[in-house]
Symmetry: C2
């Protein structure tokens, strides 16, 4: 494969010196871009879009045509794994993702198969290969998966939820069954990320979108423990040299636990204090984030001021990957994303002299 | 008024010695209780219920008849203040609270009147007087209000929201106007709590339900700053000797900032680490919380184990008020709440010898 021309992201993830802070944006390939909406309309829907390696590649590259970003991230859905396990993913307008056959009973859990990613999620693995070829070494490609806990919440709730009633009842009232489901998902996610890495992913991110709805002890028991298993699994095999980013939304209070997981980088949401997180982890780990996506609604001067404040909060030296604290939302003006990227380019070299 | 017979809560809030950890439960007067549902049905609806001092008193006392709790909390709604400011509160089945006239324009903000609580919220103040009489000194009565930021989110969004798009656009794109609204609300909440205190509230809690959707700097600017103004306002007048609890959901990362607000006690949600919070604040402030309400879905043994773990996490000595990390939810079995209260009674004396 083509030699990597921009290794800022990989160097920052390893806390090696860089000329400026690398920047990419969660959900950078997404609905705020008119060209994304056009491709999606052409595909016929979101499921058709991420199931097509060619179209997934097309939308993965779209933000790189607009902005001088330091990474591409595989365009896919967080729920491909449960879908491949037979739950029947579909999308209801305005309601988000849903499963036709949610996991509700002991028998449902027992009946879940082991995942074979090349067989069951071949379209994702092929998308990774296609994107790597199309990138031609321009920037690294980030692969990803939902965390076991986060996947389990959707599988048990059957879709989005505000109160996490079903999954928490399972976790607190029947922890043995909960752990059986999470262990199966940890094996599935490990093999899924290994397959992405073999196909060309140069870094991977675990999206633990819902770990933050748990208390501290429950987070360690039901979410972090399984992410540790995944990191250790990757280290023992195909992912030996591939940096792993762990992003727990709402995990700002548990940074030391996450740092001990063996991952290379902690993704922070915007409620975390970036400078405090750096002091807490003492430079042992890279940090990614963490601007509130809602700041992109503000005028350019305010966006630039926020970029400046975040760079200043992290301070001099490598180990910071600039990003939002969560995905960019559909109503954002693409020109405001440009303001963010250009502000990082302009202001960050002063922190790397 | 009758002499207070159980001062555990007030002593713990002042970090004075107690014989056991005081316990009350957020939303202890609520839909999980059949007697509450009966009174509410009799009233005709939630608005009719909290607007009637007699019925508000009746439901406030219901949980005290069932459980040996150490405090009563005024039964009211968090949105009485915006309603009194003319926004027209109503409830849509399954949708939560809504405002007929949300605050959307500069003119809407300019047109808001100053609150006179005795005139505009007389039914709440009368409920406080009625409850104090009915309590006869059995336990202290906690008054409360939403925080300015939390009230503003509902006023600007017009109801519940998942993404806080309108309020964050106002905050980040037009901060001067946002501050004008928050300053008005801080004055309104101060006078509202003062009126509750004059009517007999023996402690007050600020519910900052949505402070945690902000980043750290934005939290200080748009939420905490105004809670500090309220605490200082109370200290200068009627609330001089009345303990103030500040509860920011999702505020576990900002404990030192909240501790510096001048409040007596920080309410923690279940994602915060109680023991770490105590070490961080060095015993300078009381802490309230913080069991995940979802634990009440688990069998009694699990609830007891969680109570034990929380008491152990706080450790020996006063300054802990046992509570959930958020309100008890409607589907909880009232017998499980009994298990919690009795476990605190049984297990906590060992921490106060």
């Amino acid at each position: 494969m083509a030699e990597l021309k921009n290794d800022r992201l990989l160097r920052a993830l390893r806390r090696q010196s860089v000329d400026r802070t690398p920047v990419w944006i969660m959900r950078q390939a997404g609905r705020y871009l008119p060209e994304y909406r056009a491709t999606r309309a052409r595909a016929g829907g979101i499921i058709e879009l991420f199931r097509s390696p060619e179209l997934a590649c097309e939308v993965t590259l779209q933000p790189l045509e607009r902005y001088d970003l330091d990474a591409a991230i595989l365009f896919s859905d967080i729920l491909t794994v449960p879908d491949a396990l037979g739950l029947g993913l579909y999308f209801e307008a305005g309601e988000g993702p849903r499963f036709r056959d949610p996991v509700r009973t002991a028998a449902d859990i027992e009946a879940l198969p082991e995942l074979d990613p090349e067989r069951d999620l071949g379209y994702v693995i092929e998308a990774v290969r296609t994107i790597r070829r199309a990138l031609g070494g321009r920037v690294p490609l980030i692969g990803f998966s939902g965390s076991p806990w986060t996947l389990a919440t959707y599988m048990v709730e059957g879709g989005s939820t505000r109160d996490f009633a079903r999954i928490k009842t399972l976790a607190f009232a029947d922890p043995r069954r909960m752990h059986r489901l999470l262990a199966l998902l940890a094996r599935a996610v490990t093999s899924y990320l290994e397959a992405q890495i073999r196909a060309g992913a140069q870094a991977v991110q675990l999206f633990d979108t819902w770990g933050g709805v748990l208390g501290h002890a429950a987070y360690r028991e039901f979410s972090l423990q399984y992410m540790v298993q995944i990191v250790e699994g990757l280290r023992a095999g195909a992912g030996r040299h591939v940096p792993v980013i762990v992003f727990t939304k709402g995990g700002g209070g548990w940074i030391e636990d996450i740092a001990a997981s063996g991952c290379d980088c902690i993704g922070l949401d915007w409620t975390a204090d970036l400078g405090a997180a750096r002091r807490q982890t003492g430079g042992r780990i890279a940090l990614q984030g963490n601007m509130d996506p809602a700041i992109l609604r503000a005028p350019p001067e305010r966006i630039r001021a926020e970029v400046a404040a975040l760079l200043d909060s992290y301070g001099p030296g490598s180990g910071h990957v600039f990003n939002l604290g969560h995905g960019v939302t559909p109503e954002i003006d693409p020109e405001h994303v440009r303001v963010l990227v250009e502000a990082v380019h302009e202001l960050s070299p002063a922190y790397h002299v």
